[in-house]
Symmetry: C2
Subunit: 398 residues, 2 copies
């Protein structure tokens, strides 16, 4: 049995349940913090556990360059490398590579690109992206797609979508042949060095949370630019190829937020109701709540962590730019309604001082708060869904 979604309650189009993965269960709808280089910047794995993070996203492109897939694979995969025994999802590298506008060349075979770090030449194809993601060993891996640029003519969007569909097929073929090569499939019976820590959230030995036969899952990605008809076709033909979960990609590429919303809502209608639906790279707290209420099960975004490092904090009273002088002697908690470690202990004045003085701790504390805020937002949505009505058989098959 691969990764699957267990729907436990629905409310309108929304669903709450559990995503079952080889590394534990994940309450959905879920927001996945981004740990680009196998680390959520500034936040230790202990703290992520304490925050209630059940699944992290990590970036194949970045790990491909540093420390390299082979290093991670030899170390037993990402979970063991970063000492994180909960679920992980990796993207395919497609989005990052396509962001290197002047450094890449796309062909039918794949994408040749130069590293943003040192200009060195690399090549990613559907097969290479699968090989990399199997080596990293996340619980959920993503098809290698072409993220259509915005704006794009319809003909260009169609050609790009067709390429993504051909690549999806190649991804699936490679994955089916090689999925047994995931590092933790082999490590399951081996002795694994993990934490000797004693608190309840400490990771257990690798393998213990992976029932026999569970394995990595490959999700497909719907493209189609900003055309709802092309999106429908992309969804249907991706479903025809057949994946255990589907993502909506190609958004947050510069289009107006209203358009993002229209495309998301129209695409959701074409995705299977009994499988996980993942909206990539979105969004603000208001947006993730809205999309979760609209039937999205999984989301990720760098916004909470990146904004935190720039002193932009999300609170129940709106956004706070902590660098402002008005907070210099403000003894109040950042968000009086928040029960995170930061709001329980520190004043706005102290946070403002840390940020103004370029203290490392500013980035740590700001990130902890913003992540807590995003996770709490999703907890609220889940409670809202569960307060709706119990799932009817028809709701599961609608």
């Amino acid at each position: 049995m691969s990764v699957h979604l267990q729907i436990e309650a629905t409310r309108g189009a929304a669903r709450a349940g559990k995503l079952i993965t080889p590394h534990g269960e994940v309450e959905t709808p879920v927001f996945m913090p981004v740990g680009t280089l196998a680390s959520v910047k500034g936040v230790s794995q202990d703290l992520l556990e304490e925050l209630g993070v059940e699944i992290l996203l990590s970036n194949t492109y970045h790990l491909f360059l540093r420390p390299g897939v082979e290093t991670v694979r030899r170390m037993g995969g990402l979970h063991r490398f970063m000492s994180w025994d909960r679920a992980i999802l990796t993207d395919s590298g497609g989005f990052q590579v396509f962001s290197l506008t002047d450094l890449r060349k796309v062909t039918e075979e794949g994408v040749a690109f130069r590293s943003h770090l040192d200009g060195s030449s690399h090549f990613l194809s559907p097969e290479k992206a699968m090989e990399a993601q199997i080596g990293l060993g996340a619980d959920i891996i993503m098809a290698f797609d072409e993220c259509t640029e915005y704006p794009a003519e319809l003909a260009r969007a169609r050609a790009s979508t067709e390429l993504t569909l051909r690549w999806a097929e190649r991804c699936k073929n490679y994955f089916e042949e090689h999925k047994s090569e995931v590092p933790w499939a082999r490590a399951e019976s081996a002795e694994v060095r993990t934490a000797g820590r004693t608190n309840a959230s400490a990771p257990t030995r690798a393998g213990e949370m992976r029932p026999p036969g569970t394995r990595q899952a490959l999700f497909g990605i719907v493209q189609g630019g900003m055309d709802t008809e092309l999106r429908r076709e992309s969804a249907e033909r991706t479903i025809d190829i057949g994946f255990p979960g589907y993502a909506i990609g190609g958004l947050s590429v510069g289009e107006p937020r209203e358009l993002t919303r229209d495309i998301v809502l129209s695409t959701l209608e074409h995705l299977p109701s009994d499988q996980p639906r993942y909206l990539m790279g979105v969004g603000t707290p208001e947006e993730i709540a809205e999309y979760a209420r609209s039937g999205v099960d999984m989301m990720d975004c760098v916004l909470p962590t990146r904004a935190a490092r720039h002193g932009l904090l999300f609170t129940s009273e709106g956004k706070v730019s902590i660098k402002q002088a008005r907070y210099a002697q403000d003894e109040n908690a950042l968000d009086p309604a928040c029960d995170c470690r930061v709001c329980q202990r520190y004043s706005r004045a102290y946070l403002r001082h840390l940020y103004s003085s370029n203290e490392l701790l500013a980035q740590v504390l700001n990130t902890v708060h913003n992540l807590h805020f995003y996770l709490a937002t999703m907890r609220t949505v889940r409670a809202w869904i569960r307060a709706g009505h119990a799932p009817a058989a028809s709701a599961l098959q609608m």
Copy 2:
């Protein structure tokens, strides 16, 4: 009753006991981590508590510039500002100001200097340094001294030592007149916003740990350059002025380590045996252990925290430069003999990856480990002293 040392065991010249402060007891000999700008770079106060830190050092010069003494004073003092309810010591700013070689001018009255941040003009004198440190409200504050440069002619060292002695007298006079102005003296009966956290190490309400009548203590500083006779005279005349504790200053200014050691050992002989002895700005793990065994009660140094941020880690097997390629696939803990959170959870390979990739978490984890190593070093010395013999009455008065 001000700050005082309660000696509970001695072994040779070494003593173990408790430093009693308005913000709790401190096991001695103690190493004090440096929190320059009211933060130990990258490490939250929660983690400092968990590490067992009982006293922190913070720098008056840096706080004077950012966020300014008046801001901290209005916020109730440093403890409340940074939400740290354990003991704090501030230096006088003297050492930092004297490090600004080209930006300062010394007169009998004090030191005019320019900020290293923006070139703005400031003035510190014995009285100003006392006013600042009373406003910051640390448990232990330091006399404003002149740190004699190295090398220095004997005549220059004598003139500098005489200036420090005159300034020590002015510091004491100002302090005696104004010590009731410490912000927490007034805050003691007031409601204070502190943590609503539930774990055992959470800070209690400000005031609860401060028995009535406890107050800030001003320590004197022995100078005298690298001349043992001048050191003896500086010690005796500083003791004549009368302080509840004495520091050895003016070391770690570029002199050879052997010379540091000679000056420390010879100066210690002239300090009262029943009062705290504080060696400023020293040293490596081996050095702090040696000085503690020689009768020093308190030490501080930026070495563990600064080295950590440069990837230099102290272990039971010696120093490790974690950036080295040899650790890229090393699955072992950084220090197999260490029980800190970092060594319990992460591999050298992961720490090397974080450091090589400039990940924030590298600085956080490296600092946690190095601090743990320093604190564990002092725990070992304290156990060694207590395993010696019980204190005889004569030992306390030797």
